[in-house]
């Protein structure tokens, strides 16, 4: 693994993110979290952090394969469970997905992928209720900014410890906390259909887009400045459009204002209000 492109002090990040999970989970009177364990680096890192914050007995990782899911994903999820000591469950989603799409046989892979992501979400929330646990989110900052996730699917959670970390930072931190090397090294994939990879679908690499997003979002560089730094104008334009067009995925639904106090407009409270 080469040095991360975006600066990251792994020990400091680990300490803050572990403290975040412990504080925000216990504050609402819970002690446990449940998360989807895909075998990828994001959910693996989240599982390691949660196990450290709450103790492995308080973390449930659920594997939810579809019949086309890669066997390697299942094996990697099992490795994470073994390394962290967290409990796991395996609940296949093949039957319900196939039953639904029997009525829509020509549905696109896109529709099928979204449906699977939302099916997994309903399972996580059901186990959240069953186990009095919070759903731990595993979306990273890169995919949140690019809108590369399913709204109300994998983007749904109660709290997310890694949503402010770019993918390249996830790799560095995952390596530092002991996520198995094969998981850190493999090519990222949503595993919604065979042979799918994030970078092929997006059309650019994480290292490249992370550096651009970091400069534009975190460091507030202007378009002129990033182009002068060597980013191709067409690439900059494309990424900026993607970020803008996916803004709706990062917000609550808009509400037609009629009263004097409308939720999230002039009725403003922290989410921790009720704790």
């Amino acid at each position: 693994m080469t040095a991360p492109d975006i600066p990251l002090n792994a020990a400091a990040f680990r300490r803050v993110l572990v403290a975040f999970i412990a504080d925000e989970v216990r504050k609402v009177g819970s002690a446990r979290v449940v998360l989807g364990l895909s075998g990828g680096v994001d959910s693996s890192l989240a599982a390691f952090l949660a196990a450290e914050a709450l103790g492995p007995a308080n973390v449930l990782g659920i594997r939810m394969p579809y019949r086309t899911s890669s066997p390697e994903s299942l094996a990697h999820a099992a490795e994470v469970a073994a390394a962290t000591g967290i409990a796991t469950l395996t609940i296949a989603i093949t039957d319900q997905i196939d039953a639904y799409f029997a009525g829509f046989p020509d549905a696109s892979p896109h529709r099928r992928g979204n449906k699977m992501a939302r099916e997994r979400m309903t399972i996580l929330y059901d186990h959240s209720a069953r186990w009095e646990a919070l759903v731990l989110g595993t979306s990273n900052k890169t995919e949140l900014l690019l809108g590369y996730g399913t709204l109300h699917g994998d983007m749904a959670s109660a709290l997310n410890p890694i949503g402010d970390l770019y993918k390249t930072q996830i790799w560095a931190l995952a390596e530092a906390v002991g996520v198995p090397a094969a998981i850190v090294a493999k090519e990222p994939s949503a595993d919604l259909w065979e042979g799918q990879t994030d970078e092929r679908e997006l059309g650019f690499g994480y290292r490249e887009v992370d550096r651009l997003l970091y400069l534009m979002v975190d460091e507030r560089w202007s378009r002129d400045e990033v182009e002068a730094a060597g980013f191709a104008p067409a690439f900059v334009e494309r990424v900026q459009r993607i970020v803008q067009r996916s803004q709706f995925k990062r917000r609550l639904p808009i509400i037609a204002k009629v009263s004097t106090r409308t939720i999230d407009r002039d009725f403003r409270y922290a989410r921790d209000w009720g704790c």
């Binding site: 990040f13 300490r15 403003r268 922290a270």
Partner: protein, 349 residues
């Protein structure tokens, strides 16, 4: 010379919006401080209420006659003197982010935050009023000043406190974790440590920085409260990210020694500062006046022409019938209103 005393900092993690729970935290820290022989205990900014209050400001605010204020005054009699961080409600129903020195059952000094930050993740001026006084005060802990968090990021604040004779500057704070990158600490924490140290050394003062810990809506506070001597030495520093209680002796002799070897305060020329600031303010005011004058003259020279009358649509039949009716009604109403106004004017005459 003023007497030496022991100053402590209670680095706590308050519960957002829960004054009762935070009063219990205060009480526990104060009893511990008393047991440790601390004379003055400093609590973080808004630690009686939590920080990201938003619309909760008015529900957690304390007026002078609030039961929680009576409880705080009683605690200062039962335990030790302390600096509380809370939302103060005035008789005019203004809400301030305030720090109060409470000692022997009385509120001895109130500082209202002069620079409530309203940018980035901060939104204080949306909910809180702006303080306008910045002054040192005397008491049994010598002459000191209270500054609240962002106040300290304006160099003029510590300068004023120093020129007003403060030997100790107490800074309750709620500094969030921001800009965690390659360092062990967030970038703003690194800056705070440099700022506290430079302030102490520049003015030969003690700086007591009281930060909080815990999370509010995912935003963490990094702790690291510290007490800095006039020579820049870190007398005590609290743990990062975790609750803690620290203490150090505040011995004016240390300020005396520093001010003998580096008499910047003595040599400071208030006249130069005030004259130059007055000149700068004059320049800014002159700029405003000049701009107003220019715009007024421009308006007089070229009176605004009435906008060219829009031509009537060529094909009024395109306007739906009910719209035409409405338009006719509106014209009639306007005519009526004009007539009414004329009549009123006539009556006034």
């Amino acid at each position: 010379m003023a007497k030496a005393f022991t100053l402590g900092v209670a680095q706590i993690g308050p519960r957002l919006g829960d004054v009762e729970a935070n009063l219990a935290l205060y009480e526990r820290s104060l009893r511990e401080a008393k047991a440790q022989g601390i004379d003055l205990l400093v609590f973080p900014e808004l630690s009686l209420t939590g920080y990201f209050l938003k619309d909760m400001v008015s529900t957690v605010a304390l007026a002078a006659d609030a039961p929680a204020m009576a409880r705080l005054r009683a605690l200062s009699r039962e335990t030790v003197a302390f600096v509380a961080g809370l939302v103060e409600e005035t008789p005019e129903y203004r809400f301030y982010n305030s720090a109060m020195l409470i000692d022997g059952g009385e509120v001895r000094h109130v500082h209202r935050k002069v620079y409530p930050p309203t940018y980035g993740l901060f939104d204080e001026l949306r909910y809180l009023a702006r303080g306008v006084r910045l002054e040192a005060f005397d008491g049994r802990f010598g002459r000191m000043a209270l500054l609240l968090c962002e106040d300290m990021w304006h160099p003029s604040s510590a300068y004023i406190a120093a020129m007003d004779g403060a030997l100790t500057v107490v800074v309750p704070s709620a500094s969030p974790i921001q800009g965690l990158t390659a360092g062990e600490l967030p970038e703003n924490a690194d800056y705070w440590q440099r700022l506290n140290r430079v302030t102490a050394e520049t003015y030969g003062m003690f700086v007591a920085y009281a930060n909080r810990v815990g999370f509010e809506d995912g935003i963490g506070f990094w702790g690291g409260s510290e007490i800095i001597a006039p020579d820049g030495a870190v007398l005590a520093r609290a743990r990062y990210y975790e609750a803690d209680l620290i203490a150090a002796a505040i011995d004016p002799a240390a300020a005396r020694r520093k001010r003998i070897s580096a008499p910047m305060i003595r040599d400071e020329n208030l006249d130069v500062t005030i004259n130059e600031l007055t000149r700068i303010r004059g320049r800014e005011l002159a700029g405003v006046v000049k701009d107003l004058r220019r715009r007024t003259l421009a308006a007089l020279a070229a009176p605004e022409k009435p906008a060219a009358r829009a031509k009537a649509p060529r094909r009024p039949d395109k306007v739906p019938r009910h719209s035409r009716k409405l338009a006719a009604g509106a014209r009639k109403a306007a005519k009526g209103a004009r007539a009414g106004a004329k009549a009123k004017a006539a009556r006034r005459r």
